[in-house]
C-alpha cells in the first residue's frame, strides 16, 4: 500500500506516494534532500533528527511521514532567511557550540523550541530544555553559552 501525502519542507511542497511505514526523517532526507537533519540513535533519545512540525519541535525518527500529511516542516536548512543566518546559528558559530557537528542541527532546532517557549532561559533551563539532545563530543558548555548568547541577541 502507498498513500498520497503532501508535506511542505522549508517552504517547498512535496506531493509523494509513500509507504505508510516511511518515517518522516527519511521523507525529509531522501525525498526532500534536506540531509542536515541527522539520524543518530533512531530511538527518539539522541535528538539529532529534531525538526519543527507546524512550528513545534519533534523527533522525526519517531513519526510516520503519513502522520505529517498536510503539515509544514522546518529543518536546519530552513532557519536562515535570505542568506542571513538565524541568531541561533550565529551564536553556535561564535561560541563554538559544536565539535564534530553531527548533533548540531538537532541542538539548534531544540534550542529554537526552548526559546519559543522560554525566551529568557536560565542556564539550568537551557540544560533542561536540551535534555533530549546528546552531544557525544560532550561539548555541552559551549552549547549552553551559544543558546544564552542567542537568547540575548533575539531579545533585542
Amino acid at each position: 500500500m502507498t498513500v498520497r501525502i503532501s508535506i511542505t519542507v522549508n517552504g517547498r511542497r512535496f506531493d509523494r506516494d509513500v509507504e505508510p511505514r516511511q518515517l518522516l526523517v527519511h521523507f525529509i532526507r531522501d525525498l526532500g534532500g534536506f540531509t542536515g537533519t541527522k539520524i543518530g540513535c533512531d530511538t527518539s533519545q539522541c535528538g539529532s533528527c529534531t525538526v519543527l512540525l507546524d512550528g513545534v519541535a519533534m523527533k522525526s525518527c519517531t513519526c510516520l511521514a503519513v502522520q505529517a500529511d498536510g503539515s509544514e516542516v522546518i529543518t536546519i536548512e530552513g532557519l536562515a532567511k535570505e542568506g542571513q543566518l538565524h541568531p541561533l546559528q550565529e551564536a553556535f558559530w561564535n561560541k563554538h557550540g559544536l565539535q564534530c557537528g553531527f548533533c548540531t542541527p538537532g541542538m539548534i532546532m531544540a534550542s529554537h523550541e526552548l526559546l519559543r517557549t522560554n525566551p529568557k532561559p536560565t542556564d539550568d533551563a537551557i540544560r533542561h530544555g536540551l535534555a533530549g539532545n546528546l552531544c557525544r563530543c560532550t561539548g555541552y558548555q559551549n552549547i549552553v553559552r551559544a543558546v544564552r548568547e542567542a537568547a540575548t541577541a533575539m531579545a533585542k
Binding site: Q22, L23, D42, S44, G47, L64, T117
Partner: protein, 288 residues
C-alpha cells in the same frame, strides 16, 4: 529501522475509528506514536493495519468541572504540563508530565498512548493510580469505565481490549488538605523511570488522614506501597514519620522487582525508599 509493512487508515471521528477497529482484526491504534512506533521499528509489534486517531477532535482537551479533571486521550505531555488546571487540581500529574522524556517527546507523546502502552517504567500509570483516576473506554459493547486499580493488568497489558479505544481519563480534583508529588530517578538517555514514586496525602489538622504511594520502574504494573501508606495515616508528616514509612516499601515490593542492564533489581529496591521519602515530603509540603 523500518517497521514491517502495514495498511494505514486515518479516522476523522471517534465513531469512524471504532468502526475501523471492528472491521480490521489485529489493527493497532496510533495516537502520537511515541510508544507504538518504537515497538514497530524494533518489530516487537507488527500490526497489519494501523488506525491513526491523531486527528480525532473529540479526543483532545482538558476540562475541570464537577470536582474532576477530564483529560482527552490525545492530550500531549506538553499540554498537560502547561495546563494551569492540571497544576492546581493534580499536582503530581503536572509534575510527572513535565518530566516524561524530553521537550520534543512531550510535544508528540499523549497521555492515552502512554497508559494504553503501559510500559512498567512509564511515569503516568503510577501517578494516575495514586490519584485514583478512572479510564473511559469505547468498545464494541458501548462505553465503560475502569478504575486505575483494575486498568493496568500486566506488563504492557491493560483493560483496553483489541477492539477498544481509550477516550478520556478522569482524575479527581485535589481535595481540601491534599498534596501530591512525583519523584523519579530517570534513565539518563531514555528518561524512563528507573525508580519513580507518586505520592498523594491528605492532611487535616496537622494529621495525615489519607495517603497513597505508587511506584513504577520496579514491577510489571504500578506497585502500591500499602505498608508505607498505612504507616503515614494518623501521623503528623515529619521527616521522621515519612522516613519510617519509606523504610517499609521493601515489604510491599516483595520479590517481583525487575532489573535490567542499567539497574539491577537489588539496586532499584535499595533506591526506592529514597524516592518514596522525597515524593511524600514534597506531597506533604504541598498539602493545603
Amino acid at each position: 529501522m523500518y517497521a514491517s509493512n502495514f495498511n494505514y487508515l486515518r479516522a476523522g471521528t471517534l465513531a469512524e475509528a471504532s468502526a475501523l477497529l471492528q472491521k480490521n482484526p489485529g489493527a493497532k491504534v496510533l495516537a502520537g506514536g511515541h510508544s507504538l512506533i518504537p515497538l514497530m521499528k524494533l518489530r516487537l509489534a507488527s500490526p497489519t493495519v494501523v488506525i491513526d486517531i491523531g486527528r480525532v477532535p473529540e479526543l483532545r482537551g482538558i476540562s475541570l468541572s464537577g470536582g474532576a479533571l477530564t483529560i482527552g486521550a490525545l492530550t500531549t505531555h506538553a499540554e498537560l504540563a502547561a495546563s494551569a488546571a492540571v497544576q492546581d487540581a493534580a499536582q503530581a500529574l503536572s509534575e510527572a508530565a513535565g518530566h516524561v522524556g524530553d521537550p520534543a517527546v512531550r510535544n508528540r507523546g499523549t497521555i492515552g498512548g502512554n497508559v494504553a502502552h503501559a510500559d512498567p517504567a512509564s511515569d503516568l500509570p503510577a501517578v494516575l493510580t495514586a490519584l485514583g483516576a478512572t479510564f473511559h473506554i469505547t468498545g464494541p459493547g458501548g462505553r465503560r469505565s475502569v478504575q486505575a486499580s483494575d486498568f493496568f493488568k500486566g506488563m504492557m497489558n491493560t483493560a483496553v481490549g483489541e477492539h477498544d479505544i481509550l477516550t478520556t481519563i478522569e482524575v479527581p480534583a485535589r481535595a481540601a488538605g491534599q498534596g501530591s508529588a512525583y519523584a523519579k530517578f530517570e534513565h539518563p538517555a531514555s528518561r524512563y523511570a528507573v525508580v519513580g514514586v507518586a505520592a498523594c496525602v491528605i492532611v487535616n489538622g496537622g494529621t495525615c488522614v489519607a495517603a497513597s504511594i505508587v511506584l513504577c520502574g520496579l514491577t510489571s504494573t504500578p506497585a502500591r506501597a500499602k505498608s508505607g501508606e498505612q504507616a503515614l495515616v494518623g501521623q503528623a508528616l515529619t521527616r521522621e514519620t515519612i522516613a519510617a514509612a519509606a523504610g517499609k516499601v521493601g515489604t510491599d515490593l516483595g520479590s517481583d522487582v525487575l532489573g535490567d542492564i542499567f539497574a539491577s533489581a537489588e539496586y532499584r529496591a535499595a533506591v526506592a525508599p529514597v524516592y518514596v521519602r522525597r515524593a511524600v515530603e514534597a506531597a506533604a509540603s504541598r498539602a493545603r
